[in-house]
Each structure stands twice: as structure tokens, then as C-alpha cells.
Symmetry: C2
């Protein structure tokens, strides 16, 4: 039996669900989380504006508030993510299941669109997602494409890769183009070495998947980019979700389609 | 003979062109301008993120820089707009043709998408724009729709109106949906009283245009919203372009289509 969003969120809040969220609360938009003190929030907000494919913003909370009042007004971002990462000076120091003890009055939380949304749309269109078929995490790579910097934030873009049979690539572009607020259309098709990826079998994050004869690798800007940016920019303190352990909003995926 | 973008920008910079920019440098994206001191920039940047249909951001300059390095790296926002408005405490104090004397080291400039871009797309699709046919300014109305507030910035959304024959309304939605970064799809179709507009013949900005028998009024979120927000939020100092006197970027309109 499928569980309701309310039940799932309560289980996460109570620490009963600390696993990945792929496939949970199907149809509801999941989001990447970045939390920074207000002193760094302007630079990061502008970083997102300048890099909308990697960091498409769904919502930014008011200073000191853990409530995303526009996309999930009953949620609390201190508890409602299954697992969090605490970065200090760009180093992952700890993984925790709530951040009550870390919360500061000057925190700002950024919710960033996640590829789960467009993967649902691709599957609705009959396209199979290899890493889901294989039961793995999506392969992610750090590219040679520099993000547009903003203040202290700089670094290279991270992309995710999904292989498709050549005949399906056009449809994959069409379907994902309709969702600019969850990474939108692909960043690159076909020649990974042109974006600094020399070995598809060795992703920087996630798991390698098989690219079969007659298939083309298709790359999308990835919401893991902020973690990579944290590592290169080394802010004093930055809290994120743990990869794959997303925040589930009240919004339906279809809400984010522009067409 | 059509003039090049470079010639037009030089004429504006030299103060030789101080008129509206509609139809100038056809194909190049024009932008609304808002300039605020850094102290207000975070709240305004977040205001734009929360109100993307009214305030779709094309670029935000670095603090103190008048150069929009991503959309027009050779331009200077102190000179390259034909006419500027100086607002103090929400009141329009002065209109000037350059802001050299007003520029401050803590200024941040926001370039916001403009409906000229989607009007070109509508005309390319064979749809006629009434206010252009009549040689008038587009009619704009303050609605009863509250913007999502951010810090000091609050107020109601401004919309522009274009009437279309009922048979053309669907195409108008389709065409403009492809341009989310220049206001995107309409905000409302058909019943102006539902969004607080009681008399189409009395716009709050611009000129009234004829709505003929068999036509439906279609409303888009409007880049004049920031001026209206300035009036209701009363920041100490805010500089904008004068309505219709836009900044012309180096970007082509087609760049902003997501599909």
C-alpha cells in the first residue's frame, strides 16, 4: 500500500525513515537542500541565479525560519530530511538525521530542484532510466565547465548521466526542456570528453551504469553541484541533505512544467 | 536602413537617443532595470526569486559594477539606458538620461526580462499586438494579486493586457510559455474583474487600447511591478529605467526560449 505524504514526512521527522527517498511519495516534488548563515546567503542566492541549470531554486526561507512556507508550509527543515551533511570549511564533518542542535537564528535554507522530477516525466513518456533499472544511484561527474562565480562561491559544474538509445534522445530533450526549474534540458549529449569526462565508468559521485551498444550518454546539470561548490569554496559552515536523501515538498511535479 | 546594436548603444550612451526603445535593435533582448544599494539587494533578489513571473531575472551585477558582464559585457548601465527614474522613499523625484552623478560603490543592478521579447515571438507566429497596431504604449493595471513579500519589499502585481481573437488565445499561451525568463505564460485570461481590474479603459500605466467584439483580454505579469513595489515599499533610494526606455542586451530573444 502506498503511504501518504503526511505519513512519510512524519516517519522522517520521527527518525523512523533515514534512507534515500527515491520513489517515495510518488508525484511530489523532491528537493536538494542547502543551509547557510545569512552572511553567505546573498552570494549563494546570486550563485543560483547565475547558474540556473545546476541550481534551480524552488524556494528560499526567511532568515531564521526552518519552514518552507511556499512549498511545504507544515514542514520543518530541521527534521524533515532523512539525513543531513554538515560541512565545515568545505569538509564533510558529520552525517546526522536531524539538525536541531545545529540550527542558528541566522540560517537561510535553499531548496533546489531535483532530477527525480524530470525522471518521472521521462518514464511517463516511456523512456527507461538505466540507473533505476539497475537499482543504482545515478552516475555523477565533475565537469570542466566552470560555474559563473558569485562572491565566495565558485567551482565546476556537476552533471548526472543517463544513457538512451539514439532514437530516444530527441524525446528526452523535449520532455526535460519543459521543466526548467528542475535542471531543464540536457547540458550535453554524446561526447563526454568535451566536458572533461574521460571515463564514464568512474563517476565522481554515485554509481557507474552500463552504456549499451547504440546508446548515447546524455548529461544534465546536477543538484549535487552545491556540494562540489562547498568543497571548492570552503564556507565556514554549510549544511546540505545527504545525497539521495531529499526533502519532499507539498508540490506536485507537474506544477513545475512550463508547457 | 536598420542600425546595428553597437550604433544604437553608442547613440544612447552619448545622449543622442533619449526616446523609447520599442522596435530598436530588433531581435536583441531588452530589459527592465532596477538599481538598489547592497543593503537592500538581498531582499530584492529574493523578491525576484519568489515572484518569477513578474520579475524574471536576466542578470544581477556584482556590487559596485555597472557592467552586466554576462548579457552585455561592453555596456555601462550608468549611461546605456535612454532615460532613468530616480525614486526616493517611493516617490519619483527626477528623470535623467544618465546616472553618472548618482552612482554609488555599493550599487547592485538587476536586469529583468521584458515583454518585448515575447511580443516578437507572438508576431512571428502571426498574432497582431493591438497596442503596436495603434501606436500606443501597452495598457498596464495594478491587480489585487499580492506578490510574495521579501523583507521590505511587498505590494501587488502589475499586469499588461493584450486582446486577441478567441481563436488565437491558445496559440498566445503556447508561444509565451516557451519564454519563462521573460514573464512566460499569461497570468489570467478573460475575466479582468477576478484579478481586481474593473475598467479596462482606465489602465494604471500606459494607454488604453480597443478590445473588439469577439476578442478576449489576456494578461501577463509585467516588469513594471518593481516600480509599483518601490512605491508601496518606499526604499530610501531606487533607480529604474523610465517605462519603455529599456536597456538593450547583447543576447538574442531566441536565447531565452526553453523549447
Amino acid at each position: 500500500m502506498k503511504q501518504s505524504l503526511a505519513t512519510i514526512r512524519q516517519d522522517i521527522r520521527d527518525g523512523k525513515w533515514t534512507e534515500q527517498t527515491a520513489g517515495l511519495a510518488s508525484g511530489y516534488t523532491q528537493a536538494n537542500l542547502v543551509i547557510l548563515p545569512k552572511a553567505q546567503a546573498y552570494d549563494f542566492l546570486l550563485f543560483c541565479q547565475r547558474n540556473p541549470k545546476a541550481c534551480p531554486l524552488l524556494e528560499v526561507t526567511d532568515v531564521g525560519s526552518a519552514v518552507p512556507k511556499l512549498t511545504a508550509p507544515d514542514a520543518d527543515l530541521r527534521f524533515d530530511v532523512p539525513k543531513y551533511c554538515i560541512y565545515r570549511q568545505g569538509k564533510l564533518m558529520e552525517e546526522v538525521t536531524n539538525i536541531e542542535a545545529y540550527w542558528q537564528d541566522d540560517f537561510v535554507a535553499f531548496l533546489i530542484g531535483c532530477s527525480f522530477t524530470f525522471e518521472h516525466a521521462l518514464m511517463d513518456n516511456g523512456l527507461k532510466i538505466r540507473h533505476i533499472e539497475e537499482g543504482r544511484n545515478v552516475p555523477m561527474y565533475i565537469t570542466n565547465i566552470a560555474c559563473e562565480p558569485s562572491g565566495v562561491f565558485h567551482g565546476n559544474m556537476v552533471v548526472s548521466m543517463r544513457p538512451f538509445h539514439a532514437k530516444d534522445v530527441v524525446r528526452a530533450v523535449e520532455v526535460t526542456s519543459r521543466f526548467p526549474s528542475v535542471h531543464g534540458s540536457p547540458l550535453h549529449i554524446g561526447l563526454p570528453e568535451q566536458i572533461g569526462i574521460n571515463n564514464l565508468l568512474k563517476p565522481d559521485f554515485g554509481d557507474a551504469v552500463m552504456v549499451k551498444e547504440g546508446e548515447v550518454p546524455v548529461f544534465w546539470a546536477c543538484g549535487v553541484t552545491p556540494q562540489s561548490i562547498a568543497m571548492s569554496s570552503k564556507p565556514e559552515l554549510m549544511i546540505t541533505h545527504a545525497p539521495g536523501h531529499m526533502f519532499i515538498t507539498d508540490m506536485k511535479d507537474s506544477h513545475y512544467s512550463v508547457l
